[in-house]
């Protein structure tokens, strides 16, 4: 369960977050949509505890991120905006590294790594150094290292960027499985069809504020449009950011 309550964040004169509130519930995939510069990344970084909100709070499973950042992060699996890999390590070693950081060890760690490798169908990649991996392969490694400790909550910042159809399907199936197991998934994307197909609820953020929230169908009804993209444009009040 992820809860964001009245978040405010200013960078000098720029208001990045202006009283943003929403919640992402367990057993649901919550999509977060917004044009570029709407405050999505600032919001997610506040959620990871990297940035401190000027006002308001972010809670993960009722743990306040600003007060107990390490405990809160332990319950998160993060697929960040920009992700890189340790190119001198093999995929297995990277997943192992993050598993250890989350406190896994011994047989339990080995089992968790093997499970995530099998789930993401990356057995043939596991023992190769990650230098020269394709975008899809890199996504898989990043996803595996974010989820190896089976966190209750996932935050994915545009995970399908640059992925081919097959990799996107693997990711979707993977997320659907975790949703079924009762995990809370917060997912940001610019691809409307994907959000419409995958998300139970959609949060639309514009100018650092919550612009609308509801199921994709509810949002279409609210905006009186037939598809999510049109509804989104109407709700945020411009076509800015759609081309991004």
């Amino acid at each position: 369960m992820i809860e964001v309550n009245n978040l405010h964040k200013n960078f000098g004169q720029v208001k990045a977050l202006d009283g943003l509130s929403f919640s992402a519930r367990d057993g649901e995939i919550t999509g977060i949509l917004g044009p570029n510069g709407a405050g999505k990344t600032t919001c997610l970084r506040t959620l990871y505890g990297l940035l401190k909100a000027d006002q308001g709070s972010a809670k993960i499973d009722d743990i306040d991120v600003s007060q107990q950042p390490l405990l809160a992060r332990g319950r998160l699996g993060i697929f960040p905006d920009k992700f890189g890999l340790y190119e001198r390590l093999t995929a297995y070693e990277q997943i192992d590294y993050f598993a250890s950081i989350h406190g896994l060890q011994g047989q339990a760690k080995k089992q968790a790594i093997e499970e995530v490798i099998a789930d993401l169908d990356m057995q043939d990649l596991a023992y190769r150094k990650t230098a020269g991996f394709s975008q899809g392969q890199r996504m898989k490694v990043t996803l595996a290292q974010a989820l190896v400790h089976k966190p209750k909550n996932f935050v994915l910042d545009e995970p399908t960027r640059g992925l081919d159809v097959m990799s996107t399907r693997i990711l979707r199936n993977y997320l659907a499985r975790f949703k079924a197991k009762g995990h809370c998934i917060l997912f940001s994307s610019h691809v409307m069809q994907e959000v419409a197909a995958l998300c139970d609820r959609v949060i639309i953020v514009a100018n650092g504020k919550l612009a609308a929230v509801g199921t994709p169908d509810e949002l279409c009804t609210l905006a009186d449009k037939t598809n999510l993209e049109e509804a989104f444009v109407k709700i945020i009040g411009s076509d800015e950011g759609i081309a991004a």
Partner: protein, 387 residues
Amino acid sequence: MIQFNALLKKELKEAFRDKRALMYALMMAFMAPVMIYAVSNSMIKDLTDTPAIYVNIQGGEAAPKLMALLEDEKILPLAEVTADEKRLWQERNIELILPESFAEDMREGRMVDVILRADYQDKSLFSPLRRIKEVIRSYSATIGSQRLLVRGIDVRLMQPVKLQEQDTAEPTSGPMLIILSLGMYLMMAAFVSGLSVAIDSSAGERERNVLEMLLCQPVDTMKIVLAKLSCASFIAVIGVILTLVLTYFAIGFVDLSKIGATFNLDFISVSALLLLLLPLCFFASALQLFFAFGAKSFKEAQSTVTMVVMLPAFVPFVLSFINNKPQWLDWAPISGQSMLIEDIFKGLPVNWSQVGFTTLVTVVLTVVLVKVMAEKLKSEKVVLALS
């Protein structure tokens, strides 16, 4: 502890798999003995070499013994000069004029005027003239003493005072330079060996977008900094030990005693050297990580950290110019170690209390740097610089 072990293991794996960086790190260690060997040898050659001097001698046939003495000291008649040096010595035109009556005057016991004529202001003639004067003086003194001896007089009467010169600057300026460069080299090894690892694991990771991922994890930034510091320092320690061992063997091939220098590296001085250099490895890596984390890009990190590497070369150089050193230089990092290492190489007894104090100050400063870095990694500024 699981976290720290994982962090350190990963840092070490990455460091040891980056073969080029590792080669660069250890290049210093392999170059040191070669350089020390070459420099020492050429310096010994310069200092012990006595090149031939060619003098325009007139009337030499009357004094065969003096001529033989001059020849022993490589002071030769101008007629014997080699073709390529002919012009040089003709221009220098050193004249040694013996009177025709030399043999007769000697026999009679009369004082003989021997004239040494040259441009006494010409610096290049200082050494040749000194050598000629020494030969003539010793020849004169020998004949004089023999004359007294045959008359049954104690030669020592002629010398009521004998000046004993004792040079307290143990090694002369030549070996001093070797020693200074050796100390500097060891400190450079501490600074250079861990350099690439320090930059790569900080500014490099930020540029490759892996630092943000790590900072999002439930791990204390202190552990992250300590793991990175341990890894870079470990490589620096390997570099220093390798430099020390290889230099020790290289110096064995150089005969420093030829120029009156003693170089003894016994167990105690090696331990003192290690005790001085190991904390310096940690300090150097902490300083490099500090600047690399503060830099905006990998390139900026490279240029600022390179300036840090200049410190161990720069500090001893400046110290050698300061006559009245302020007290704090004794225990400040780099300068304290530099002076103590110099003393060890000079063969002076190790000042353990100063070793302890310098080490303490270095360790305290390293701890401060680590704490500041751990705090800085939590700050928003560093996070905002990520994108």
